[in-house]
Every structure is written in C-alpha cells, then in structure tokens.
Amino acid sequence: MKHLLWIPLLAVPFVVHDNVVLTILVFTFIAGILAVSFNLVFGFTGQLSLFHAAAFGLSAYATYLSMIHLGISFWLGMIVGVLFVTLISVVIGAICFRFNLRELYFAIVTLAFSELIRLVILNWNSFTNGSLGINFTLTPTLWVPGRGVIPVTGTLMWYYLSLVAVALAVFGYSRIVHSWMGRCFASIRLNDELADTLGIDVFRYKLVSFVAGNIGAAIAGSLYSFYISYIDPNYFSLDQSLAIIAMALLGGREFVAAPIVGALVLTALPHVINVNAEARLLIYGLILILTILLMPRGIVGLLARQRRAA
C-alpha cells in the first residue's frame, strides 16, 4: 500500500509546470536521502551522529575532484565518493564505538571529526580552493532510450533522477530496517547491554549502521553538489547537521520514509515565508523545540497514531 504513494510523485511534472515547485521537490528528494540515511543511525540505532553533514560534503568534494583529476564520469566519481566516505566512516566509527562513546559523547566526538575535516578542506587551498569553493559546469550523464547518452540538465531530468534516488534509498533502508539486521539495530537502541548478553556484537552493528547511514549521505552529497554545480566548506557546517536532525525529528523517527516529510517542510519553508539566512536558523530552532514539545513522534508518527485511533 505504502509503495503506491510514489506513483503520484511520478506524475507531478505533468500537472505542475511551475519550475520553483519542481526545484523545491528536487531539493526535498536529495535532502530526503540525507535525512532518511541519518535516521538509520539516529532513529533506528539510537546513535546521534553529527558526522552526517561531513559525509555529505566529503563525497561532494571526492566526486568532483576525482572526476577532474582522474578524468572519470560522474557515476564513477560518485562511487569514489561513496568508497571514500565508507573508509573514513569505518575509521571514525571504529574509534568512537571502540571507546564505547554514548549519546552526547558520541555526538561531540563525531562533531569534532567533522570540524577537523572541514578545516582541512578550508585550508587546503591548492586542492579545494578553500573558502571560495568551486563553481563547475560538469554534469552527470544518463543513457536514455532513443536519445543515447545525454547530460542531466534542467529541472525535469533532475526531478526524475532525484526521485529515483530517494525511492531507492527508502527501499534499501527499509530492507535493512525490516531485516534481522534492523532487529540488531533496534536492540542496540533499546538496551545495548542486553543485546550484548544475547550474543549481538554491539560494536559491529553500531559500525555497520554508521557506515550504511553515511553511504546514503555520500550519495546525497554527490547529487546535491552536481545539482547546484557548486561545492564549498559550508557543506560541513553545523547548521547542516542541525537541519538534518530537524528533518528526522519533524518527519518522525519510527518510519523509514518519514524524514522526507520533514525534509519537505524545511525545504519549502524558506520559499513560503521569505526570510534571510539568520532568521531561517531561528525558525529551524523553533521548529525543533516545538516538534519535541508538541509531537515527539513527528508528523508521520502523529498521523499514524491518529489513523490507528480512528
């Protein structure tokens, strides 16, 4: 039943011709991948990672730089980004989980690692162009039946590309969450000492969750940077991490796809009420507070409960 919800999204461009609306949806889908993958680590495994924005940014840089320096296509560049993020995540995750960092300690240490990476990117001028970032014109290419290999340009093509990407992300993470592995994650979230005595390798499954979540962030990072054709160290900022948390909380932590709803609200909001960047942060903060106070289970959690009650 839930899968049918995707069908109207395929039809949206036939009904809505407003470029602004479609653009908001492209950003929503890409941010949705980011939020859904974050929620694997946060909502399902119970680990508040502040490394997610860093995985997003690292992959954006790795994709672009590998394309430039190795002369490879976007899709191979994305694979480089994903592999690079996987490697870094294994190292950082192994350090955090080996020292058994929990809750806020884990959050702080992952934040410190992302700041570390941000500072490297910021100061490695010759390679990353520092704080100015890089504007580029490269685009992904796709093979389209009847038209051969064409560059992905224009809102419409990006709409379908990002829609397919977010649908695949939801599908993939659902498979994990509803499997024996998802049960291991849940056991760690709810009572990791008990999980340990039941034979579940808590270290291993925390690491698997952290890496699997960051891979989603890496894919989102590659797509996002090529959609806006720009990378800069702001990808790594704490604001990004906070926005991701806000999306997951707002949408709801208990359902795989729910953070996309949060992504939609927070992506559309600046367009609905026209505010500057500082005021936007204020609004994020307020939304976060109000969500936690009024609907701790998020929008989707609230709707699900009302439907059950009805």
Binding site: W180, A186, L190, E193, D196, T197, L198, G199, I200, D201
Partner: protein
C-alpha cells in the same frame, strides 16, 4: 567437563566480591548456587557471562579460556544468562523480543549467507525463526501476549520472557539469576516445568535462588557461597544441613 571455574576472583576497589572460587560443571548438571544477600552470587554469574571481567582466575569452557571475553562472545560460545531484574526491550512486542534473541540461532544456521537476505528476491532469513519462536512462546505460556509490548507484562511475565529469550539463544549452559523471586505459585510451577524440560533436553543449568525449597528439589548439586567464597558443595540435602551453611544463613546462635 563443560565449564571449569578456576580460582576466580573479582575485586571492586577494596571490596572482594568473589574470592578464589573454583568449581566445575559437567554436561547436563543442574547446580544451585545458594548464599545470603550480598554473598556474591550475582557477581559470580556476571563473571561467567562476561558482564564483568575477572580480576584473576580462569574460566575454561570446553578446553577454551573465556575469561576477559565480551558477553556476546561468551553467549556465542553457548553460555547465556538471565537477569535478576528482567531486562527487556520494553517497547517491542513479546514476539520481537524473542526474535532479537534469535540472532545467534540465525547466525549459526545461515552464517554469512544471512547478508544475502538483505537483498531483494532472496527471501526472508527470519522465516525459519518463527516455528522456534512459537514453540518457545507455548513452552513459556506467553502465547496470549505474543503481540503485546514487553513493558505491559506482569512481573512474572517479564521474568518468563527473560527465560524465553535466553532459551531462544539455545545455550548449552543457562545461568539463571533468581528466576523464581517475585513469582506467584502458578508461575513458579510453570518455571519449574520449563527448567525440567530443559534438563530433559540436556541443557546444563546453573541457578541462583533464595528459595532453598524450590531450588533444592531441582538441583543435583548445591554450592553455597558466603562473603564471596565457596563454603560448601555437594548434594543439596547434605549441604543445606551443613553447619557452616546454617551459620551463614541464620547466624551463629542457630548453628
């Protein structure tokens, strides 16, 4: 010999909770561990199950040294413990609690092949857990609460679920920490049946209990500890008449 405990010692700062403890368990034994409050019974089980790391001494499990291993390794080797105060995944259903405990069963059955089940079109690895879960639900008389959240169970139900989860791990040695405490008469009888069923299937049991009566009937052998040290070991009837044991439980004047 299944498990040999050699000179096991645990010190917390200046306090010696378990001191130079040695005993052995054979396949199929049912051993009761008795002792007054604070005598070190729970600490002993926590040492065997890896929750605490021993300060000194050895745990030899089928010829392999286990002291210092993590709890999940020890569980995988076949030693599983229940908790005195039930530890559960409260917001999950009774069924899901037992399914989580099926992790080791799945791992033993499928090994790395269980990774493949994450991919589409490869079926569900958890499917073959279901008959086993149903069997355990029936055995522990929890069928009626199958889909209820674990947190909604009565205290007795929670303790039974703790035992059910331990059974799902298919241990060769099951350590039970006061499984009977706080249970009503019927629940005790039910527990007794479950433990006898386990014995019939060859599971080795090591049970702590306050209630000498309940355990005394079940156990083949009793070990009495006091102030962290073993003071007696032998057939329950003999041991519980031992002078030192009566003194430990009731004080010098009764001895």
């Amino acid at each position: 010999m299944l498990l040999e405990v050699r000179n096991l010692t645990k010190r917390f700062g200046g306090l010696t909770a378990v001191s130079d403890m040695s005993f052995a368990l054979d396949e199929g034994d049912i051993v009761g561990i008795f002792g007054p409050n604070g005598s070190g019974k729970t600490t002993l089980l926590n040492l065997i199950s890896g929750v605490y790391e021993p300060t000194a001494g050895q745990l030899v499990w089928q010829g392999r040294e286990l002291a210092g291993c993590k709890p999940h390794r020890i569980a995988e080797a076949g030693i599983v413990k229940t908790f005195q105060n039930p530890q559960l995944f409260g917001e999950l259903s009774v069924h899901d609690n037992i399914a989580i405990a099926g992790h080791l069963r799945l791992k033993r059955q499928a090994g790395w092949r269980r990774i493949a089940t994450l991919f589409p079109l490869r079926g569900k690895a958890s499917a073959d857990l279901e008959p086993r879960i149903d069997h355990i639900l029936r055995l522990c008389r929890l069928e009626a609460f199958r889909d209820a959240p674990a947190a909604s169970l009565s205290y007795g139900g929670e303790k039974m679920l703790g035992v059910a989860m331990a059974l799902m791990c298919e241990p060769r040695l099951l350590l039970l920490d006061e499984p009977g405490s706080g249970l009503g008469h019927d629940e005790i009888r039910n527990l007794d049946e479950v433990l006898r069923d386990l014995r019939a299937h060859g599971t080795t049991l090591c049970v702590i209990d306050h209630r000498v009566g309940f355990l005394g009937k079940l156990a083949d052998r009793a070990i009495v500890i006091h102030h962290g040290a073993k003071i007696a070991e032998g057939p329950p009837d003999d041991v519980l008449r031992d002078h030192a044991v009566i003194e430990a439980y009731l004080g010098r004047s009764h001895a």
